[in-house]
């Protein structure tokens, strides 16, 4: 199966898209919040690789072309941001304070749990940037002596988790303003949360995109201070 797979430069993309399509169909048919197309597609792809004993590297040698689009897609987030410029100006104070409070909360809660679990410094800083976008988070963890590979994994799982629970959490806590929803998603679950915010609406998406940038910057600085605590 490995050899068959390596013969194609597009099979990994096909498997990923097929998994996502199945996820979308299931969501359409049953409509439950936990039937998240992204989560379903990830589970299906992993199951497929395990069942047919396909190496991740073989899969990724073609699936990586999907990942390649992430950079221009992230740059594209500037467009909804620009379209929401008026809202941004009107609410800049609320936006900045919320993201700042959220980012500090993230690092403080990681710190407290690290104390609880008797983590050493390396383990602690591995989790410190868990709510920010992968590329920034890995850099931060690496610089402070954490395990970048685990940081990457926790960042991705955080994003997926945030994406999946968003509807329930926002409803439960009566967070119903589009700006607040977007900031909550982007600050807690970075780009994967933003993908969810985009589904909710244009304002949600723009605010979430902005949160990725601002929370990322705040965490680059803040993590250096928090890292000295343990």
């Amino acid at each position: 199966m490995n050899e068959m797979m390596s013969a194609s430069a597009s099979i990994g993309v096909v498997i990923s898209l097929l998994g996502y399509w199945i996820g979308v169909q299931l969501k359409k048919k049953f409509g439950y919040g936990f039937l998240n197309p992204l989560l379903i597609s990830i589970i299906l792809v992993i199951a497929f690789l395990l069942v047919f004993r396909i190496d991740y590297d073989v899969y990724n040698s073609s699936a990586k072309y999907l990942s390649w689009f992430l950079t221009p897609a992230t740059v594209s987030l500037a467009i909804p941001l620009y379209q929401q410029l008026e809202r941004l100006k009107e609410n800049y104070k609320a936006i900045l304070v919320s993201i700042l409070v959220g980012s500090i909360t993230s690092m403080a809660s990681v710190f407290l749990l690290a104390l609880l679990f008797h983590f050493n410094h390396a383990q602690y800083v591995t989790f410190l940037p868990k709510s920010i976008t992968t590329a920034i988070g890995m850099g931060v963890a690496e610089e402070m002596g954490g395990y970048a590979a685990i940081t990457a994994a926790t960042i991705i799982v955080t994003g997926i988790f945030g994406n999946v629970i968003a509807d329930a959490v926002l409803k439960l806590f009566h967070i119903d303003d589009p700006i607040a929803k977007g900031l909550a998603l982007g600050t807690s679950a970075h780009a994967i949360g933003t993908a969810k915010a985009m589904e909710l609406g244009e304002t949600e998406g723009a605010m979430s995109s902005l949160s990725i940038v601002v929370a990322g910057m705040i965490t680059v600085i803040g993590a250096n201070l928090f890292a000295t605590l343990l």
Partner: protein, 121 residues
């Protein structure tokens, strides 16, 4: 042709963002510099919205599928995660929910204040 042109503009800004990343010593990815640069270019009308809009919105729409390969990579990092699995799950669940709620509630409160007294809580 229109879409190709739009995609070309987005890629050009992306490439410049990556170049900036290679000369600035912060752990900030090129995509973030690209995002900021694109935003500035739009605000200063160097790039007009109609020169990038459709292609950008298409890329954003299909963004979730771009995370699938990296997420499937959890297969590889599994061996690193396994020894601290319980702690990892607790940290992920607890902090993600807390951050989402605290950020959202802070925003609700601040927006309520701005709209004139009627705060959320």
């Amino acid at each position: 042709m229109k879409y190709l042109k739009q995609f070309g503009v987005i890629l050009l800004v992306t490439a410049i963002g990556e170049l900036i990343r290679s000369v600035v010593p912060f752990p900030i990815p090129g995509s973030i510099y690209g995002l900021l640069l694109m935003f500035v270019l739009l605000c200063t009308h160097v790039i007009r919205l109609e020169q990038v809009k459709e292609a950008a919105l298409f890329l954003i729409e299909i963004m979730p599928v771009m995370f699938i390969p990296a997420a499937a990579g959890l297969i590889v990092s599994w061996t690193d995660l396994k020894p601290i699995l319980v702690q990892t799950v607790v940290i992920l669940v607890v902090t993600t929910v807390i951050v989402m709620v605290v950020t959202g509630k802070t925003a609700m409160f601040m927006i309520g204040q701005r709209k004139g007294g009627k705060s959320d809580e």
